[in-house]
Structure formats: structure tokens, C-alpha cells
């Protein structure tokens, strides 16, 4: 996976039960609709919880990260399929 670590704009659904589901994101002036969430995991960096989402837009695999401490979304990496 190519590491990017770029801040991105993300639309997500925050559902009851602390469920977060990213729906689309904008990266390099292009909107990518998320067609599949293939894996989710959580880790910590110091006091910050980070939610990791392995998602696909139907073409490529992306890793989106939501930092709960500063509410930022980061596109951590991309893998062309």
C-alpha cells in the first residue's frame, strides 16, 4: 500500500452504538463513493483513539483514519487493484 497520510474530506454516518460508517471522501479534487468496507480496526496514539477503515471505491483499496481527538480524517494509504 502506498502511504499518503493526507487530510481528506469525508462524509460519514455516525450511527447509534458508536458505529461510524464512511460513505464518500474527496481526494485530489475527486469524489470517491465507498462501495465496500472490508475491515475495521482501532488503535491509540497516546491519548487519541484512531479508527481505521479499509474501504474500496470499486476500483482501488484505501485506508481512511478518523482521529477521535481532533476529529480529522486522514487518507492513510491507497493500493491500486
Amino acid at each position: 500500500m502506498q502511504r499518503l497520510a493526507e487530510r481528506v474530506k469525508v462524509a460519514a454516518i455516525f450511527a447509534p452504538g458508536c458505529q461510524v460508517k464512511p460513505v464518500w471522501f474527496e481526494w485530489r479534487s475527486q469524489k470517491h463513493a465507498i462501495t465496500r468496507l472490508s475491515f475495521f480496526w482501532k488503535d491509540h496514539l497516546g491519548g487519541a483513539s484512531r479508527l481505521h477503515f479499509a474501504v474500496s471505491d470499486g476500483s482501488n483499496l484505501f485506508e481512511l483514519v478518523f482521529d477521535t481527538s481532533d476529529q480529522n480524517w486522514t487518507l492513510e494509504g491507497v493500493e491500486e487493484q
Binding site: 465496500r36 475491515f39 488503535d43 491509540h44 496514539l45 483499496l61
Partner: protein
Amino acid sequence: MNAFFASVEQQSNPALRGKPIAVIGAAKRTIITTCSYEARAFGVKTGMNSWQARQKCPELIFVVGNNRKYTYTSKQIIGIMREYTPLVEVFSIDEAFLDVTGCLSLFGSAERIALLIKERIGKELGLTCSIGIAPNKLLAKLASDMQKPDGLTVIEPDKVSQVMERVPIQDLCGIGAKMQQHLAKFGIRTCGDLGRFPVEILKRNFGVTGERLHYMGLGLDSAPVVPEEEAEEVKSVGHSTTLDNDITERREILIYLLQLSEMVGRRARKYQVAGRTITLTVRYADFTTFSRQESRASHTNNSEAIYQAAVKILESLELTQAVRLLGVKISNLRHHTEQLPLFPAERKKALLANAMDDVNNKFGDFAVTFGSLLGKESGSKVISPAWRPEGVRNVDVD
């Protein structure tokens, strides 16, 4: 779990499913941590280097592992298990023993519990596991290894001797290659052979282990399932690291020792343990490994004190080869300790360590650290077999 790390990667990246993949570390020494069943079909095995693996399977896809993804997933799986019984003993990151005796009236049978757990792990995480059901831990582990991947094997109490008769002794957990060789000298090859062999001769040759071997051959094991909260307190806190390259320079060795000492000290302070004995482990390039230890007058969990003790040990050694691995450990532990320092110099050191811990708790390990470690990659790169989801054995990995 079945090929745990590789299965997690195949689940994360659907393009890898059904393909031969090998999970490797991010470090320069690329040893295969685990591989998918598709890769195993080509003869790829854990512990091979990437070149050997590529010889076996030219189409092999290498994936750099993500330890945090695996530890999180492991915790989720353990959480599912604990919904069926509180008696869960985590054996490693991808293995656990469950005692379901007290929960049978709630769920019906052990088989039903096993199927429910398999279903939940499959549905919620997309992973498969193999489960063994038997009267004790030794047999349950044996049963779980009998059918992989995605297996469910039951050894009924009245079928134990029949099953054990032909099982090769090396299939038993706890019998390694050396013990297998020793036992072969007595003509013992199967568990049936082991169970029938005179226990007195086993005791004469293997001491107390001889009696245990006899019972293992009969499929008997009295060890209970011990959940984390009832487990014995740890006897040591340590970290080791395989270096990116073999090194000979003392200056470089010292930097690694400082880094390891800080990791040990920080974890010891977090869980309020302090040690009186400091051990330094060195592995040479030819894999010769040795440890030396030094006991202090008082207990400590101060990183600098641990480092100074490790340096003292290093200075007493004459290194004859380049170093491949270094390890630092504190033992002879005192638990739930918070010694208030009496003297100003000691108090300053404790305050400094506390201040550094506070910053690192907020911004992440090594956010503030010793000047010598600046710019150096830090943290645990490998999930130790002793890793556990909670407590002092819960090592944060990178």
C-alpha cells in the same frame, strides 16, 4: 485462528483473497511471520526468508504486517469468546482455551457454543478458526490442530485412548523436536507408545517431566483454564529487538540498550512494578545467544537506572562477534510499587520520568525521549508469544 495475520490481510484487501500471500515485518530482515493456506500449498512456511519463499512460490505476494490491526482483531475475538464463558485463557494472540462446563445449561452443548463462536467470528470479522473440544486443554489443543482450516473436532472422553493410540508425539503441545528425538531413542513414536512406556524409566531419564510425559501419552492433563485475572503475577518485564543489521560498534549498541531500557521502564511504571535484577541478552550473528544479569541493592523501574545496569553488564563482556539481537529485562519484581524517593537527586529523576510518561501518554510513546534516541525508529515491532490483551503483558506494538 487459521493463518491469523494472513487471513486478516486477505479480509482487509479483497484482492488478496484466494492468493498465496506472506506477511513480513517492516524491518529490513524479511522473515515470513505467517502465510496464507494458498502459500502453504506451495511449501512456504513461517520463518523462511523472502528469498527461500519466492523459490517455493514465484507468485507469492508479500504484505508488510500491521501488528496493531492484529492485536485489535485478537481483542475482538477474545471479547466474543467471553460472551459465552468468563473462563477464557488467552494462550497467544490467536489461540485461547475456554472452559464451558458451567455454561452448558445456557447454550446446550460445547459443540453448539463452538458453532456459535465460529459463526460470530465469521460474520463479524470474516475470519475462520479451528476449534477442538475435549475433556482437557492438552486434548483440546490437539483436536483443534486436527482439522485446519475452519475445523471443529471433538474428542469424546470415552474415545481418548483410541484417538491417542496413533497420534505422533510431536503433535502434542509441549513436545518439541529435541524431546521427540530423546523419546525416539526409547522407541516412543506415538502417544500410545508413550502412555504404555514404564513411567519409572521416564522419571529416571526426564525427572519430574517424566511423569508429566506419561500422563500426556495417556491424554491426561489436570491444568485448569486460568483467566487473566486469576493468572500468576508476571515474573519479569522485558523487551528485545532484532537489529536491522548486525552491529559491532559499542556506540550503536548503547543506543539500542537505551531504547530497550526506556521501553522496559515505561511499561514497568505503567503497571507499577519494579525489578531488582536486570538481565542483558545478546544474540550474535551466528545465533549464539546468552544472557547475563546483575542485581541492584534496590528495586527500580527508572529507565536510566535500568540502562546503567545494562551498560555495566555490557562492559563486563567481551563481544566476539557482531550482534544480531539485544534484550533487556527486569526481574525479581515487586508489584504495586510506588516508592517515594527520599533524596533530591532521586526525586528529580522520578519527577522527570513521570513528566515524560505524562507527555508520552498523551502524544504517544517516544513523543518525548532521550536525545540519543531522536530520529531513531522506536517501539515493539514484533508481537511476543507472551502478548496478552490486558495487563502488563499487553505490549503496545507498532
